[in-house]
Structure formats: C-alpha cells, structure tokens
C-alpha cells in the first residue's frame, strides 16, 4: 500500500462550542472519547486503511493541537498537516484551501466530519469508490426518524444518488449523510475558495450529473458533537468493543455490562460500575461509588458513596461524598463538587467550585 500517498482531510472546524465546557480546556479533536482522543479514533482507522497523509482543516490555531499532532506523526509514521482557515469556509471551502495538498496525485482522498464515531469503513469505501469510478462516494447510515434530518435518495442496487431531501415530511428514505466521503481529485474543480456548504451547494449538482454514490454503513454511527450524544455514542462504541475485542473491557464482581477502565485507574471497595462506563487514566473511584453511563476523564476523583448516571466528569475534577449527579451533568476541567450535593443536568464551566445543589438543568458559569 505504501508505494503511493493516500490522503484524508478531516473537517475539524471551530471551537467545538457544542461540546462545551469540555472544549474550553481542550480542543475538541483531543477530547478523549472512550479513553482515546476523538480525532485518533478516525486517524488510526485511516492509517489502518492505508492513509499516510492526514490534513486537518481547522479554523482556529491551537498550540496544544499542533504539538499533539507532531507527536502522533511520529507514533503513527504518517504526515499530519494543519490547514488553517482565516475565515470559516463551511464544509466545502476547506477542500479548496487544501487543494494543492490533495492534488499532487490522481488518487482519491477521504473527507470526514470530525464528530463522527462508528466502525469506520474506509477500506470498503475505497473499494466501492473504485468500483463505480465516478467522482464521489458518501457513506449513509440508517436513522429511525428521517424527518429530523436531510435524507439521501439513491438506487438501492448501484448506490447512485438521485437527490437529497431536507427534513422530509413524507417518507422518501431513511438514510442520512454520515459525514464520511471519498472523492476523486477532479471533484475539486467544483469548489471555489469561499464559504461553501458541501451538502447543500456541491452534492446536489454531483448527484444530478450521476457523479455521487452512496454506500450504506454497517453497524453503529453517532455524531458525538454534544454531551448527550457523546454519552449515547459511548454506549454504542463500548458495545462494538464488546463484539470485536471483549478482552479490552473490565468484567468481574462489581462490574455490569460494558465498562472500559484505564489500567492506571483505581477503584475502591463495594463499588458498582456500569453498564456503559469509561474511566480514564489516573481516575480514582473511592469506596461505595455507583456509576453508570458515564465518562470520567483523566485524573478525576469520585469520592465515597456517590451516585452518578449519564455524566461526563472533566479532567482532574473532584466529586465529593454522597453526591448525586445525573441527566447529562457535565463538569469541565478541575471542577470541585462539594459533599452531599445533587446536580441535575448541570453544565459546569472549568475551575468552578460547586457548593449548592443544582436541582434543575442549568449552566454554572
């Protein structure tokens, strides 16, 4: 595979405001999802499929992101470039900006939305794309309520896309754009260097000319760009780990369902953990903690007898004793929750010390 360069462009975009308060401390691509930075889930899968040059389209610069990418270049033995937009260019503009990087050969390249988590089908995409030989392939995934999304109408047999319908009122299709594409370089002629939506301004024309094909995704798919979906995506991902590499999950007394625990995490006595829990590096759960459907990020501590459901506990945060947290409570970095409090759907900004209960969902500045 290494006799030529295969490339991928990841649309990282802006500040990741939907995933605040986590993204106030760490650029979204580096937020750990199931103990691995979101971006690395994609990059590692790309590398596995033979990609050896990853271009990150970013609209803001972050030293932390750059440093981390240099480290990953070494670790993965690939090239990682940052393509910086001076103004936000939408979902298509970044392709024009990175045009020179993408057109130094005639091989197809991948384009991904950075918030997507699934069993990445990059090798299948490449095969499928080469098979139909047209300009573009988009991955589609099945949804239960198509009326909430833009759906893709295509020929079942070949995958040839007829049209896109935004929020259909009558059923036309239950497949939506999954935010993963593979394009031939000639497709770049369609895009100019200005803010452009690939979904609304580019794809319809490609479909009309018979140049766009749909490949249906097998297995789970989630856009984890906001906390509620981040947790749902975690449940799906851990179930997929259960199927493919169950040895990565913790089992035994006190563990229920799918639980992913970093080897450096410490767990006290009489805890009940799971289903669907991820504990990061250096996390400490003291005695008698009950936790389910939660992500606890690196260095956080949950003190004795607390009860957590559907929460994200930010890096180095500390949750006191007999605390109850639920309903997508998200603690930013280094938050302290005092003993015996109740947090219901609280969204807590970094470095806050919480001394009063939050009985109804709200943002704690």
């Amino acid at each position: 595979m290494c006799d030529h360069i295969m490339k991928a462009l990841i649309l990282v975009g802006g500040y990741g405001t939907r995933l605040r308060p986590l993204t106030l401390s760490v650029p979204k691509p580096l937020v750990e999802f199931c103990n691995k930075p979101i971006l690395l889930h994609q990059v590692e899968a790309l590398v596995k499929a033979g990609v050896n040059h990853v271009i990150l389209a970013v609209s803001y610069m972050s030293d932390l992101l750059e440093r981390e990418m240099r480290a990953q270049e070494h670790r993965l033995g690939i090239k990682i470039s940052l393509s910086h937009e001076k103004e936000p260019l939408g979902t298509a503009g970044p392709l024009a900006l990175a045009r020179e990087l993408l057109t130094d050969n005639t091989d197809p390249f991948f384009v991904l939305n950075s918030d997507v988590i699934c069993d990445f089908p990059f090798e299948d995409m490449l095969k499928f794309h080469k098979h139909h030989g047209k300009e573009g392939t988009i991955v589609v995934t099945k949804v239960e309520e198509p009326s909430k999304y833009g759906v893709v109408v295509y020929e079942a047999e070949s995958g040839c896309i007829h049209r896109f319908v935004e929020k259909p009122q009558v059923f036309v299709s239950n497949k939506i754009n999954a935010g993963m594409y593979i394009f031939s370089p000639s497709m770049l002629d369609r895009i100019q260097l200005r803010p452009t939506s690939i979904e609304k301004e580019i794809f319809p024309n490609m479909a009309q000319e018979g140049h766009l094909y749909a490949m249906e995704l097998q297995g789970f798919w989630m856009d984890i760009g906001q906390p509620k979906d981040f947790l749902t995506g975690m449940c799906m991902y851990l179930q997929s780990v259960r199927q493919h590499s169950p040895e990565k999950l913790r089992t035994g007394p006190g563990f229920l369902g799918n639980v992913l625990v970093d080897p450096t995490a410490q767990i006290g006595e009489n805890c009940t953990i799971g289903p669907n829990v991820t504990l990061g590096a250096g996390v400490v759960l003291e005695d008698g903690v009950r936790i389910k459907r939660c992500t606890v990020l690196k260095g956080a501590r949950v003190r004795s007898h607390s009860w957590l459901e559907s929460c994200i506990v930010g890096w180095s945060s500390s949750v006191g004793q007999w605390v109850r947290m639920e309903n997508v409570t998200v603690l930013g970095e280094d938050v302290i929750v005092h003993d015996e409090l109740y947090l219901n759907g609280a969204n807590v900004l970094p470095h806050k010390s919480i001394t009063d209960s939050v009985p109804e969902p709200r943002i704690i500045m």
Partner: protein
C-alpha cells in the same frame, strides 16, 4: 408551701387541627403530641419542665383524642420517670384553649394549687417556668397572670398573638391575636402562669356567651350546637384581650429558644433546638464519636436499640429511633428516622423525616429543603408553611409516611409520601398519595 400544677393543652381553636392535619402524613400513625422530637415524644419535654418546678403536684393533659394504648404507655412511662402524677383528661368536644381548662376547672383545682401553668402542646421551648414564678412573685401580686413572651421580627409577629407592654412594669397594655398590621414585636409563646382567679374571668365570658345565646337564639338551631358554642372560649381572643390594661396580666419575656411545631417540617427544627439543649440537660442522650464507631457530626440522638454500621456518618441534627437499621456508608443529616426504618448501604437522607418501618434502598437519595428561620435574623421564627405557592408545591422537607419503600438508586426530592407506598421511580416536588 406554694404548690402548682401543670396543664398541657392540645386543644387548638380550629377543629380540623385536632387531628393534626398539618402534621400529616405523620399524624396518621401517632397523635401529634407523641411524635418524637429529639428522640422523645414532643410532650415529654413539657412534662420534664413541669416536673422540675418545685412543689409541682400534678400534670394534666387535656386533649380531644380517644385514649389509646400508645397514650397510656406514654403516661405510665412519664409517671415512672418523673415521679409525678400525669393524667389525661379527654374533652367531649373542641372547647378552645379557655373552654378546655374551664370545663376541667375542678380537676385543675382539686389539689388546691395556688398557681398553675398552661402550655400548648405544639410549642418547643426551654420552658422557663421557674423564672415565670419568680417574675410573678417579684410583682408582689399573687393574683397576676403571666404570659411567656418572646421577640419576633416585625413581619412574622403578625402571625402570632401580639403583646404591647408597659416597659417599666411589664404589664400587658394591649393584646391582639394575629393582627393584619404591625402592633408589637413581642409575641405570645402559648405558655401561661395563672392563679385560680383566672376561672372567674373565663366564667364571666361563659356567662356572657350564655346570655348572648338566649338573646340571639333563633328557631331551628339545635340546642347541642348552642351549648358547644357557649363553652368554646379562646384564652387569647376572649380573655387576654379584655384583661389587657386591667393591671392583672403581665408578660415575662424570654430570649431562650422557642418555636411552634405546627407542620411536620418544623419538627426537624424543633429537634435541633432540643438536641442543642441536651448539652445542658441530657448530655447522655447525645451520641459521641468513639474509636471505630459511627462518625457523629454535631448533635445526634441514637436510640440504644438502633443498629448502625460504623461506616455511616450522622449529623448534625439527626434523631434515630428504636430498632432503626443503618447500613454501610449511609449519610444522614438534619433528619428524623422513626422506629423500625431501614436505610440501606450508601443511601443519603437529608432534611427528611423517614416514617416508621420504611425502607430506603441502596444509593437512594431522600432529600428535602429545610424551612429554617433566617439564621441571620436573631428574632426570625419558622414560617408557618403553606403547602402550595402559585399552584406549585413549596419545596419543603421530604416526609415518608409509615411503611414506605424507596427502591435503590432513586431520588425523592421535596416530596411527601403517604403511608404504605412502594415507589418504583424517582419523584420530585410531589405529594404521592
């Protein structure tokens, strides 16, 4: 040779309050005056204070309850503990605070007391009874009557009987019950020292009522109702109002603790006041931190028959009743746990009353909102709670009635659960029938 007698009244002026409706769902199981506050029945605090007064001959309880086993057991216990006669006198009807004592005046006067105390059952107080006697003597007039008064803030004073005094003599110049505008910040504590002379004044009102009945009697009204109405006399509105300014009624002001115990929520506050008093009166009732034992924070009462895991943390202001079981890693704060209740491992109970034989599952959280008086206002009293504000349940303490089952891992917040309920999910701000 001075002798006195204590009379504790549980007859409130509103008929429905006899059943302690504001004390539901707890008054379903036990008469409100027997509800445990700081580990002992509410009335025991009154009886203990009476028993400490020198030459106290007898204590009478006047109420509207059918005597039952629980009441009889209580009477037997307190007579044994305090070595004093304690009798229960049952009213045939709700007679009001004045009507009740007037009806039983022969019983009250039977031992020939020179003075007697009247106290309402639904107050919690340090009961400075000896001080009231000294105050009466100091005034030199053996026929003066004394009301215990305390200072309230301007706003809350209007929920109570308000007293205007002569600042030199402490004579009551004016008395008004629950005025609609501010009259005085000295309020009536519902604790009185009377001489037998008081019956002359109540008798006069009784006579007047009777004459009024005859004057305004009209055809068709049943005689029994009429008689009841004649006998219903309220000490506050009917007696104090007219005695004020006559040189007979005085107010003894106390700055010691005092609170009404109207609603169930105020029982937790009253418990705190009594537990604090135990440092002076009953240090043996306060749990202590011992090596390897349960962790105690602040004032905690634990009945010796309770079974508590050493990893639990209790207090401040916690009362644990007989036969209660508390599991590993349980946290209880500002709460009353009634007899036979079980708190399973890791559960957390805050600002709540857990009813008799109730069970709280593992990691469950039972939490209320305290209704304490403003701690920054020394004269603030507990607000008489309204159950609803603007159609919504006012956040208050959580009360689990008798034999309620709370499953594991749920939260019960600011709710009232009626007896014998098995809940299957979380509840917030609800009354669960």
């Amino acid at each position: 040779n001075f002798s006195s007698c204590g009379v504790i009244l549980d007859n409130l002026t509103v008929l429905s309050d006899f059943a302690g409706t504001r004390f539901r769902p707890l008054s379903f199981e036990v008469p409100k005056p027997l509800f445990p506050v700081a580990g002992v029945p509410m009335l025991q605090h009154h009886i203990e204070a009476c028993a400490k007064v020198p030459n106290m001959k007898e204590i009478l309880l006047i109420g509207f309850y059918q005597p039952n086993e629980e009441l009889n057991r209580f009477l037997a216990n307190v007579q044994q503990d305090f070595k004093i006669s304690v009798r229960y006198l049952q009213e045939y009807a709700a007679l009001g605070t004045g009507g009740g004592i007037y009806h039983f005046r022969d019983q009250i006067l039977s031992g020939g007391p020179e003075a007697f105390f009247i106290m309402n059952a639904d107050v919690c107080s340090e009961f400075p009874l000896s001080e009231m006697l000294d105050f009466q003597k100091k005034h030199g007039d053996t026929h003066s009557f004394v009301i215990l008064g305390t200072t309230a803030n301007r706003k809350q004073s209007m929920n109570y009987g308000c007293i205007v005094e002569n600042q030199q003599s402490n004579e009551v110049l004016h008395y008004v019950e629950k005025p609609s505008t501010f009259v005085s910040d000295i309020i009536n504590c519902g604790i009185y020292l009377f001489t037998p002379e008081i019956f002359r004044h109540i008798g006069a009102v009784f006579q007047k009522n009777q004459q009024d009945m005859l004057l305004y009697h009209y055809e068709g009204e049943e005689q029994t109702n009429g008689w009841q109405r004649v006998e219903v006399i309220r000490l506050e509105q009917d007696i104090f109002t007219s005695l004020a300014g006559q040189g007979k009624l005085f107010v003894y002001k106390t700055d010691r603790f005092w609170s009404q115990i109207k609603s169930a929520g105020s029982a937790i506050y009253a418990s705190r006041l009594y537990l604090n008093q135990y440092h002076k009166t009953h240090p043996e009732r306060l749990a202590r931190n011992e090596e390897g034992g349960v962790k105690i924070i602040g004032n905690v009462y634990i009945h010796p028959t309770a079974n508590i895991d050493p990893s639990a943390v209790l207090g401040p202001n916690v009362s644990i009743g007989t036969g209660v079981t508390i599991g590993a890693g349980v946290r209880v704060r500002e709460s009353i746990i009634l007899h036979g209740a079980t708190l399973q491992d890791h559960s957390c109970v805050l600002n709540s009353i857990v009813g008799w034989d109730s069970t709280i599952g593992r990691w469950a959280r039972v939490e209320g909102t305290p209704s304490d008086p403003n701690p920054n206002d020394p004269y603030a009293k507990i607000d008489s709670e309204t159950l609803f504000t603007d159609g919504k349940l006012t956040p208050s303490i959580t009360i689990l009635g008798c034999n309620v089952n709370i499953p594991s891992e749920v939260i019960i917040l600011n709710s009232i659960v009626l007896p014998h309920k098995d809940l299957n999910r979380s509840f917030k701000n609800q009354i669960i029938l």
